[in-house]
């Protein structure tokens, strides 16, 4: 229980996936322009990351390792993630059209989100157990969402600010992300596994 709680705290605050580990920076910059899209993307990421880590962990432990195939890790993981995203999209469209309308457009984007791949790889590399892996994935996804939502809030106001031409757009967004990352640096060293 204690380990699980510290995993949650560490990967939301101390070792935030976007701001300290640089996983998933592309969607972080891409969809943080508006609050509603940021929240939609966050939900989709939490869902997919938990599912993907669950499947890849089981596959790695019960198929790849016993058959000495761990060199196929990269190929299997990315294909599992890509097909899982497709599957989730199809199932969601059938079961819950309202949810699909909310998350639908974000799902294809997730395939190129390296945070999903990173969480699956790290769960295996750090030798987490199944429960720990899933908790780790959810915590990492919540950390990603937290950063995304904060950033969206800042960017909505940033639209109105006056600044030099050359800074407009991505440059100022990156500098803002840097300052946000500095704020999260305050958690550094609070907890470690």
């Amino acid at each position: 229980m204690e380990t699980l709680l510290s995993i949650v705290f560490i990967y939301i605050f101390v070792d935030n996936f976007v701001l300290h580990r640089f996983f998933g920076v592309c969607p972080f910059l891409g969809v943080s322009r508006k609050m509603d899209t940021a929240i939609g993307m966050s939900m989709a990421v939490i869902f997919v990351m938990a599912m993907a880590t669950l499947v890849t962990w089981l596959l790695y432990t019960y198929v790849l390792v016993p058959f000495n195939l761990s060199y196929l890790q990269i190929v299997t993981f990315i294909l599992v993630i890509a097909s899982l995203v497709q599957l989730v999209e199809i199932v969601l469209r059938k079961i819950s059209p309202t949810l699909y309308q909310g998350l639908g457009i974000f799902l294809p984007l997730i395939t190129t989100n390296c945070a999903v791949m990173a969480v699956a790889l790290l769960a295996v590399r750090q030798e987490f157990s199944l429960v720990e892996s899933v908790v780790f994935a959810i915590a990492a996804a919540i950390g990603f969402s937290l950063a995304l939502v904060i950033m969206a809030g800042i960017r909505e106001r940033l639209e109105l600010a006056k600044m030099p031409d050359v800074l407009q757009g991505s440059a100022v967004t990156l500098i803002t992300a840097g300052i946000l990352s500095m704020a999260f640096l305050g958690f550094k060293g609070m907890l470690s596994l």
Partner: protein
Amino acid sequence: MSKETSLYLKDFTRGILKENPVFVALLGMCPLLGVTGFIVNGFGMGMAAMAVLVASSLVVSLLRNYIPPQVRIPCFIAIIATFVTVIDMVLQAFQPVLYEALGVFVPLIVANCVILGRLEAFSSKKPVARSFFDAVGAGIGFTLALVLLAAVREIVGHGTILGPDPESAIHLFGPNFEPMALFALPPGAFIALGLLLAVVNMLMKRFNI
């Protein structure tokens, strides 16, 4: 210059400056920010990504008439993943120090949107030779961005070039130099890239690129 050569030259130079995958298209941010603590790591990452990009772009271009358009993305991903596995093993065997420094970012080349972007936009439609030049150009453009950002971060954040290995590291400012450690830390990566982008924007506007 024959018409063909100038076409190749155009494909080649496009990715370096005019459509630089980082400075113009803002792709491949994760490895860019993650490994640029030192120039050596940035350059190694650039080379690894370029190798994967060139190899997979050749294969995709060769197979472009055989891959069904409905399932092209999974096919591209499978091809990329194959070459990433190869690079992962090669680095582990021949460059263990670099492999250790790049860490999980080596397998993550598979999710690098620069590569998938080039395959989708160019190699899947164009002949092999043109795809090759386009891939090399985009690879050089990506490496250029990595090395530039790494140079800023290493010089300001550590005061050295060619670190972190103490044997090859050259201290630029003498023993009393106090490096600005922020630039070696994660926030510095974001801030340095933001400022670099602003400078590139300014230069591009000035010279009308």
